[in-house]
């Protein structure tokens, strides 16, 4: 049972436009959400996070929106740059998962391609 879902395996956008990456979750106990970016042959790099008590967090070109009632979050990148081309993983943590407070549950990732 996949608790974090990224339904779009890939997304292609033009440089300068907005990229919107989506993520849905099923576990209502998740209270913290993160986005990671991954280049080939490298480990994931932390990008931005949001707590369940907020609905928006912004950091430069990156904004994460959380809709708790819909169990949905999205990552907006604006303006998109060719260097943003990577796989983006959505992840969530569950404060009450049997004492293992902060292990992360990941989605399968979305490959973003930003075309010059």
């Amino acid at each position: 049972d996949q608790q974090v879902k990224q339904n779009s395996p890939s997304l292609s956008v033009q440089e300068g436009r907005i990229s919107i990456l989506n993520c849905d979750y099923t576990n209502s106990m998740f209270d913290y959400f993160l986005w990671y970016k991954k280049y080939p042959a490298e480990g994931p790099t932390f990008l931005i996070s949001i707590s369940s008590i907020k609905d928006k967090n912004e950091d430069g070109r990156f904004t994460v929106f959380l809709n708790k009632s819909a169990k949905h979050l999205s990552l907006h990148i604006v303006p998109s740059q060719p260097g943003d081309s990577a796989v983006y993983f959505c992840a969530a943590s569950d404060l009450n998962s049997g004492g293992s407070n902060y292990k992360l549950t990941f989605g399968k990732g979305t490959l973003l391609t930003v075309n010059p």
Binding site: P44, S100, Y102, K103, T105
Partner: protein
Amino acid sequence: GEEVAQTPKHLVRGEGQKAKLYCAPIKGHSYVFWYQQVLKNEFKFLISFQNENVFDETGMPKERFSAKCLPNSPCSLEIQATKLEDSAVYFCASSLQTGRGGYTFGSGTRLTVV
């Protein structure tokens, strides 16, 4: 150092052989995590440590997998009697505190079981 160092980068083992992977967390980070990524799919949590103590091992296949984080040594993940399905990239991550704000991941060890 300021990076999580994983060795080796690549490891090939025949089915039934032992595999041992190493991870040096960032100095000062007290939490270490191991994740398995099979076929570029999602990362599967294996185990976490708080210093040398197991914090959460709910993801570990107990029969063949073991892990340690000993003082003044790299952490290790060992797979006894490897199987074809153990082929994956194994990522180690470390953090100052668990999870919040994101971990720092290493670049992974690609294990191929033939």
